[in-house]
């Protein structure tokens, strides 16, 4: 059936075989997702370097673009956690947003999924689970850093018997964060591969445009949720 062709064309991690391993480095296997992640890191590093050397008072060119992006992210975060905390947690949340955005879009590049070495990193559950675990660990870390060990008291907050429910809620958060992002990117990729196996020419196009829209929305929602979790964990009530 066309499904086998689509599965082969997408080279995705099904249940039979894992992601395609390119080579081994220091005993660890390097897959296409990893090399694409290196490419994205390089792209972001070079763009940041070019935007911040010879910084002018009135920006122009790439400095303008970067300032627009950073200001947009700060506005988004200020709505949730207030201006000063937004600036404090901007490195983590801004990096998450930019990385997820670019890696969602890297799946639309020509040859993504077919050529070895280019595959959207977020189309693999391992990557999104890693990102979600980073968010989980940072909420606990920042919570303890802001409120000390009394942070753990908030698990007993409304009523002490809610403790198991609160723990379960904390554990489910990385799962839902990672699955939402992974499902959106992987699902879009699989549907495009299936449509491509049917009619290679114009038909996959609407789905790819939807993929662009959803890629941005998912990056936005991931960052928003991460900021809500951190804001909730570092809530300090001033008397």
């Amino acid at each position: 059936m066309f499904w086998t062709k689509a599965a082969y064309a997408a080279e995705s991690g099904g249940t039979d075989h894992g992601p395609q391993i390119l080579f081994s480095l220091f005993g660890l296997d390097v897959t296409s997702e990893t090399t694409t992640m290196w490419g994205i890191m390089l792209l972001l590093a070079i763009a940041s370097y070019l935007a911040t050397r010879n910084m002018k008072r009135i920006p122009s060119g790439i400095q303008n673009v970067m300032e627009f992006a950073v200001e947009g992210i700060i506005n988004l975060l200020s709505g949730i956690m207030g201006e000063e905390r937004a600036k404090k947690y901007l490195p983590l949340l801004g990096s998450l947003f930019l990385f997820i955005l670019i890696s969602n879009y890297s799946g639309v590049l020509p040859g993504a999924g077919h050529t070895p070495g280019l595959k959207a990193p977020t189309s693999n559950w391992s990557v999104t689970l890693g990102l979600a675990l980073v968010v989980f660990m940072s909420t606990q870390y920042y919570g303890v850093k802001e409120r000390g060990l009394k942070y753990f008291k908030h698990f007993f907050e409304p009523l002490p018997f809610m403790f198991p429910l609160n723990i379960i809620e904390q554990m489910v958060r990385p799962l839902s964060l990672s699955l939402r992002l992974y499902g959106n990117v992987f699902g879009e990729e699989m549907v495009v591969a299936g449509l491509f196996a049917l009619v290679p020419l114009i038909v996959p196009l609407p789905m790819m445009i939807l993929g662009l829209l959803f890629g941005f929305i998912q990056a936005f929602v991931f960052t928003l949720l991460a900021s809500i979790y951190i804001a909730e964990a570092t809530e300090v009530h001033h008397h």
Binding site: D16, S176, R180, G183, F186, F220, V221
Partner: protein, 78 residues
Amino acid sequence: MDIGTGLIGLAAAFSVGIATIAPALGQGNTAGKAMEAIARQPEAANEIRTSLIISLAFMEALTIYGLLIAFLLLGKIA
């Protein structure tokens, strides 16, 4: 193709099919209320639009979970 494969195929189809019912109803309700809110107060349209997109993404995730199970099941038979 034996009955086992057929049942797995059926399960995959039902998984994604049933998973779209409730989120679609929820998203329709949300969008309707958002339209009413924008009509009542057009100057708040930007904030309402942002909240609307976020809420739709949350409900979309529930359908995606069903789609993931369908992919996993299909991966077992093909």
